[in-house]
């Protein structure tokens, strides 16, 4: 019975977002992507398909992370502000079903965004004579996983802090999660054991978003072995499941006042 309630909430969450202006944004990002790709290739000698890929994956990443950040932060706070959460959980719906349904609904929008922008990127690349290598599809999958991880971070933080702080904290986590690996390799850090230990601890505990970024490999046509890809998929999946459990645990106990 509960899976059907999760899917009911997911369906109407998807419909609510689908009818909002969010898909208009996806449309304009897609249009911008095509225009920018076309203009940029005019100034490029020899590698127009690389420009198409660079812009395409960049836009896809920005758009997905933007949706996670700005829709994720309102996923619960808006429900509480407008008291719609009371309308739903006053019915025979456990709180975990509510939160899972909301997340699945938002992920549906996220998937739609990824499909539209990926299709445009792949079409532009193919049109400009680029090769659609398997690593490109891995990169698209990793972008979806990265945006899922960011979405869960935002939702978790929004259960503990207000909207603005949640956005700021999540952006800081995202930037640090991408920069932490490079920073660990700096000679300054190598020479300061305390700082290195702190960064190692950060890298171990907080989300390492850099593990889910394959864009550089795609653009420079580097192939990656499964022994690199699968552990990173496992990292993103397990970390996301951990965050999901924490979100459900906190939401079950949260005072909805």
């Amino acid at each position: 019975m509960m899976p059907s309630k999760i899917m009911t909430i997911a369906y109407y969450t998807f419909r609510e977002l689908y009818k909002s202006k969010i898909l208009l944004n996806v449309f304009f990002v897609g249009l911008g992507l095509v225009v920018v790709t076309f203009v940029a290739t005019e100034f490029t000698y020899g590698v127009p398909e690389r420009i198409a890929l660079d812009f395409g994956l960049g836009m896809l990443s920005l758009s997905s992370l933007g949706i996670s950040l700005f829709l994720g932060v309102n996923l619960l706070s808006k429900e509480m502000e407008s008291r719609t959460v009371y309308m739903v959980i006053a019915r025979p719906v456990p709180r975990y079903a509510f939160i899972l349904g909301k997340l699945v609904g938002l992920l549906g929008i996220q998937a739609l965004n990824v499909i539209v922008l990926s299709a445009l990127t792949l079409a532009s690349t193919a049109f400009l004579g680029g090769e659609l290598s398997p690593i490109l599809f891995w990169a698209i999958g990793f972008t979806l996983l990265e945006s899922l991880l960011l979405l869960l971070c935002v939702v978790l933080i929004s259960l503990l802090a207000n909207t603005i702080l949640s956005v700021i904290f999540s952006m800081v986590l995202l930037v640090l999660g991408h920069a932490v690996k490079e920073t660990q390799g700096l000679s300054f850090v190598e020479n300061h054991p305390a700082l290195k230990a702190l960064l190692d601890f950060y890298h171990f505990v907080l989300p390492a978003f850099h593990k889910l970024n394959l864009k550089d490999y795609v653009i420079y046509k580097k192939s990656l072995p499964l022994s690199y890809l699968l552990p990173n998929v496992a990292y993103g999946t397990i970390y996301s499941l951990g965050l999901l459990c924490l979100i459900v645990f906190l939401f079950q106990r949260k005072n909805l006042d």
Partner: protein, 302 residues
């Protein structure tokens, strides 16, 4: 149906400000089949009490119990419960019909049953013409009405409403009151908070007063009105000697009729004196204070 027992709720704030006690050892019952009004000024603790009943927030102390007929588990209880929060905004991009199907499906009723209920109640709530429109185009009154419709779609045994009549025009209030009375007559227990005292007086058989987080009164509306010790009688006497010194106030009307206001404790002596003084007593009427007057007296605003 609901046993709200010794409930205390303290909202903890930061170290610079004091904790706020929203409810202080409040106890009351909502009997099965009753229509109970929940009164109190802003900040009296009504919405906090309803949120505790609905398990949206946890009490600091005390407990809330439901009668066995409501069910044994939380989910069973919610199958038999309809709740409408104060000024809900709903999902602006869903149509009215989508919203009703959403709520009905979550309440475990089939699509055909939802369609039947919507066909029956839609015209009663005057929302049938707008069901295909997005909720963001609805007026405040229409949102309140469709919200109430979604609350009764699944035929709950207990209906809890937080300020259901606020924001409605007089016609909307009358219509909603009529529907509340109708569902109550079908055997539903109704518990609703309101600021509009005459509405509570008009349709409720019991009333619960809260003041600054404390219970002031819990009982039948009539008992509250009758138990008031300050009641007066208006006595109309024609002719006879003027008995100004025996009455709280005296007004002389045409044809030598005098209107005396006399406290209930002095009524019998006054009547004897009026007859002895040659007057013709032709009207005796109890001045019945309205619930609103008692409410404001209780709030210390009169």
């Amino acid at each position: 149906m609901i046993n709200f027992s010794n409930v205390t709720k303290i909202f903890k704030s930061d170290i610079l400000t004091q904790n706020f006690t929203a409810l202080n050892d409040v106890s009351f019952q909502v009997p099965a089949g009753s229509m109970v009004g929940f009164l109190g000024a802003n900040g009296a603790g009504k919405t906090t009490s309803l949120k505790i009943i609905m398990d949206f927030i946890r009490p600091t102390g005390g407990r809330v119990e439901f009668s066995p007929e409501m069910g044994a588990t939380k989910l069973e209880i919610r199958r038999n419960l309809g709740f409408l929060p104060e000024r809900p905004y709903f999902y602006p991009n869903l149509t009215g019909l989508e919203f009703l199907y959403f709520m009905g499906t979550l309440s475990e009723i089939s699509r055909s049953d939802i369609a039947r209920e919507v066909a029956y109640w839609g015209p009663r709530f005057r929302v049938d013409h707008a069901l295909g429109r997005e909720l963001k185009t609805y007026s405040k009154g229409m949102l309140q009405r469709i919200g109430f419709l979604s609350t009764i779609l699944h035929h709950p045994k207990l209906i809890i409403l937080d300020e259901p009549l606020s924001g409605l025009d007089p016609i909307g209030r009358k219509e909603l009151k009529d529907v509340i009375i109708e569902v109550h007559k079908q055997g539903k227990t109704v518990f609703f908070s309101s600021h509009i005292v005459p509405d509570v007086e008009e349709i409720c058989d019991r009333v619960i007063f809260l003041k600054e987080g404390r219970l002031v009164y819990d009982g039948p509306v009539n008992s509250l009105l009758v138990s008031d010790q300050e009641r007066d009688y208006v006595i109309l006497v024609q002719g006879g000697k003027v008995l100004e010194d025996r009455a709280k106030s005296t007004v002389t009307l045409p044809d030598e009729v005098r209107r005396y206001v006399v406290p209930s404790s002095a009524k019998d002596q006054f009547l004897s004196a009026a007859v002895a003084a040659g007057g013709n007593v032709f009207s005796l009427e109890l001045v019945k204070p309205s619930l609103e007057e008692i409410f404001y007296q209780t709030q210390g605003r009169k």
